[in-house]
């Protein structure tokens, strides 16, 4: 009797623990079924469908409303709804006017623009050429601004009339239109800023876009409201859009599943089934122009200064395995940084890769590393989709051909510092976008005047790049860039892995497509 009692007591202690474990263990299984049932009723609890509010869940907060002083894609993704560029890229690599009604290339160094009349800022001011001059001169003149280096090719902004002006570049600039259709190209209200000052503007930003600023709670949300006097008329059905910051991926997905957000950005493949299996949500993927690559250092003290070693690395890696296994097929193996949709893209180097472990071993043998070689391999963690896994898998692939990659993950600020200061060792894993949509920006890294991260120098490449940079003949310029990419693919200052797809979880109640530049044009998001 006593023993029984004791045992009972003992069970009482363990019961709550067991309960918790069961909860933990079953969480996953119950998930799919019950969540489905819950959503099966059709109504998601949080977002009420008719109030005209679009909620988008993002991983990180935007950083500033100073359009010239950031280079963050996620910040620009929000800015595009509030500001207008002069021109915008159209679907087939050309450009169409945005604020500019028309534009023409007067000579190699001069561009003439005419603005739409009657464009109104959110504060009621009318857009004139003076605002353009104010905006561009700021970024051209102030060296401390992050975007300065992307604009200082413009020599002057000449106002020709209320709605007319011309841009004069410092030498021919074939990429000028790319330049003024990206980060930092939004046009700001000159009078408003001059009267109220920058600080006021930063907390009460004013633009010409379809949405006007409502509030920004740092690390929580940015709220924009529809601007009813938008110069193109009403272009969206959303009265309000909320960008919510939800750093934790599973929380972001859970919000989507429970209807807390319409769109959850950056949903990793691990969560796809959950999103797709849920009634009312699905995964949307789309190509971005971000290319994941391994930056290799060719300074003499490193084994990677030997081209054969670099090629061995390229041959060792099965790019398709990375995209298929880790990204669920949503990525494209590449051999270049310039992907379709960007000026100068090379079709042969897209969707292609080298993979031949045997050859990699041979190359290593030739290079004198038959017994293996040890290199340092740095990678950021939690920065790119599945970055940890990719880095680990790459390490595994390299080890199979005899390259011991000592993988060191760096916390982002340390990683950024290494990248910025060029203090990298043999190899590091990095993803690079191309906000200019022009091969020039993407290939600049490999010129001898570019960064010293790779230590790569090739006179032929330098020649090609400097010619192309000022070549106003589009076709010839494209050829030059394609040639340059071939050289890079051969010499491998970087091993290119794959073009990453952006992945978002989307509620079926909205129609959302991922833009190549990963911005969130709310006016393109429609209600279903």
């Amino acid at each position: 009797m006593k023993n029984v009692k004791r045992n009972l007591k003992w069970m009482k202690v363990t019961a709550p623990f067991l309960g918790a474990f069961v909860l933990a263990a079953c969480g996953g299984d119950q998930e799919d079924t019950e969540a489905t049932e819950g959503a099966g009723d059709g109504e998601a609890p949080e977002v009420e469908e008719d109030d005209g509010t679009l909620v988008i869940g993002t991983g990180t907060d935007m950083v500033t409303f100073d359009i010239h002083d950031h280079n963050a894609t996620n910040t620009e993704a929000i800015h595009v709804n509030m500001f207008n560029y002069l021109v915008k890229r159209d679907d087939d690599e050309g450009f169409e006017g945005d604020l500019a009604k028309s534009f023409e290339n007067v000579d190699d160094e001069t561009w003439h623009f005419t603005l739409h009349e009657g464009v109104e800022f959110h504060n009621g001011d009318e857009l004139t050429a003076e605002d353009v001059k104010f905006t561009l001169e700021r970024v051209i003149e102030d060296e401390t601004l992050v975007e300065h280096s992307n604009y200082n090719q413009i020599k002057e902004v000449n106002v020709l009339g209320d709605y007319e002006f011309e841009l004069v570049t410092d030498g021919p600039d074939p990429a000028l239109l790319n330049r003024v259709s990206r980060i930092g190209s939004g046009i700001l209200p000159a009078d408003y800023i001059e009267e109220e000052g920058w600080d006021h503007f930063l907390s009460n930003p004013v633009g010409t876009g379809p949405f006007e600023f409502s509030e920004w709670n740092r690390d929580d949300s940015v709220v924009l409201e529809r601007f009813d006097n938008y110069f193109e008329g009403e272009v969206t059905e959303w009265e309000e859009v909320v960008f919510r910051v939800i750093p934790e991926t599973s929380t972001r997905v859970n919000e989507l599943l429970t209807g807390g957000v319409h769109i959850a950005e950056n949903v990793p493949p691990a969560e796809w089934d959950r999103v797709n299996d849920n009634d009312g949500t699905s995964i949307v993927t789309g190509a971005s122009n971000r290319v994941m690559l391994l930056m290799l250092n060719q300074d003499d003290e490193y084994a990677t200064s030997d081209k054969r070693v670099r090629q061995a690395i390229d041959y060792a890696i099965d790019n398709a395995a990375l995209t298929d296994q880790l990204l669920g097929g949503h990525g494209t193996p590449v051999q270049t940084r310039i992907t379709p949709g960007n000026t100068g893209a090379h079709p042969d180097l897209f969707e292609s890769y080298n993979h031949d472990p045997e050859k990699a071993k041979e190359l290593l043998e030739e290079a004198g590393y038959g017994d293996g070689v040890e290199i340092t391999f740095n990678s950021p963690q939690g920065r790119y989709m599945m970055d940890t896994e990719v880095a680990e898998l790459v390490r595994g692939m390299l080890s199979q051909v005899g390259i011991t990659a000592n993988l060191e993950f760096l916390e982002w600020s340390n990683f950024a510092e290494m990248h910025t200061n060029g203090t990298n060792e043999e190899m590091y894993f990095l993803g690079l976008g191309n906000s200019m949509f022009d091969a020039g920006l993407g290939l600049d890294d490999f010129s001898s005047g570019g960064s010293d991260r790779t230590g790569y120098e090739n006179e032929e490449l330098d020649e090609l790049l400097s010619q192309a940079a000022v070549n106003m003949d589009e076709d010839e310029r494209e050829e030059q860039y394609q040639k340059a990419q071939e050289i890079v693919a051969e010499d491998l200052p970087s091993v290119f892995l794959y073009q990453a797809d952006a992945m978002a979880g989307v509620s079926d109640s909205v129609n959302f497509e991922i833009a190549l530049d990963e911005t969130l044009y709310v006016r393109n998001i429609e209600r279903n």
């Binding site: 623990f17 390490r395 916390e411």
Partner: protein, 309 residues
């Protein structure tokens, strides 16, 4: 007034004392341990975790970082799709969960134990010095302690790791350097009350040196509460390491700790639950075991609770 018993007045030179029979120390502890169910369970858990950590290379069926891209996210063997080749399934890179779990115990324990040792050594030294000498030394040490207490340790750890990066050594040092204050506080207050005990005065009155008093009289006497706190502290450190992994500042791969496995598996909770659940259970069980053991130690070692019986 009454009879005087003169024969009995001689004080005995040597007496027969009934000093209780001296049990074998080890057996005494074993007996004490077996008497407490939670203590026994705690000890069993802790011993088995230690065993796993020490003999990991012999226990693990696979290398912990052997990847198999064809075999990713395989569920545990008792579920559909599982196989007996991977008892607890595989992770997102096709690595064997069981092997990783076994190897993970090493790092988790090493970080837990060594950071506590670092913290303990600093804390013991500071606490004893402050408590024993008092005056300005005490004031200085206590203000430093106050300062550390005013800043949540995870915050400080976050900043330090953010600056210096995170590897096992820095992690151990940082956890140690930020946690010493609890020991210093505890030890100091123990020393203050010990100082009131006569045996410290007695040692002084005999002419014992300060250094000897601190090492021989104070240290052994604060040691038992120190051990109790340390035990519990190992548990909190294991949890803390997991939280740091969650914030991306914990142990970095290819090293494996349970905390890292748990936090990196969290994205798979809803689809491949075993990735996070097994390390989670491992942490919970281990911490549970350590707390049980620590509580038992407290009951056994704490003179206050001894007096309470």
């Amino acid at each position: 007034m009454s009879v005087n018993i003169s024969a009995q007045t001689e004080a005995p030179r040597e007496e027969e004392f009934e000093v209780s029979k001296r049990p074998n120390q080890l057996r005494r502890w074993a007996k004490l341990l077996l008497r407490s169910k939670t203590g026994t369970i705690g000890m069993l858990i802790v011993l088995s975790v230690c065993f796993t950590a020490v003999f990991a290379p012999f226990l693990a069926p696979y290398e912990p970082d052997a990847m198999n891209a064809a075999n990713i996210n395989v569920p545990p063997m008792w579920l559909d799709g599982g196989s007996s080749a991977h008892v607890l399934g595989t992770d997102s890179l096709g690595r064997d969960m069981l092997s990783r779990l076994i190897y993970g115990s090493q790092v988790s324990l090493i970080i837990g134990v060594f950071s506590v040792i670092v913290a303990g050594i600093i804390g013991l030294a500071m606490g004893i010095l402050a408590g024993y000498y008092g005056k300005w030394i005490d004031n200085l040490v206590m203000r430093v302690v106050d300062s550390f207490l005013a800043v949540p340790n995870i915050l400080l750890i976050l900043v330090i790791l953010g600056i210096f990066g995170s590897n096992m050594l820095t992690l151990i040092l940082v956890l140690g350097v930020t946690n010493w204050v609890i020991y210093a506080r505890l030890v100091r207050s123990e020393v203050l009350s010990l100082k009131e005990r006569d045996f410290i005065r007695a040692a002084k009155s005999i002419g014992t040196k300060d250094s000897t008093i601190m090492l021989k009289h104070i240290l052994p006497n604060v040691f038992s509460s120190f051990i109790v706190i340390s035990t519990l502290s190992v548990a909190t450190t294991i949890i803390l390491e997991a939280s740091l992994s969650f914030l991306g500042l914990g142990i970095q791969p290819p090293s494996i700790s349970w905390g890292y496995m748990l936090s990196s598996g969290r994205d798979y909770l809803a689809t491949s639950w075993w990735l996070a659940t097994f390390p989670g259970l491992a942490i919970t069980f281990t911490v549970l075991g350590i707390i049980f053991l620590g509580d038992w130690l407290r009951d056994v070692l704490d003179p206050r609770s001894q007096g309470r019986k």
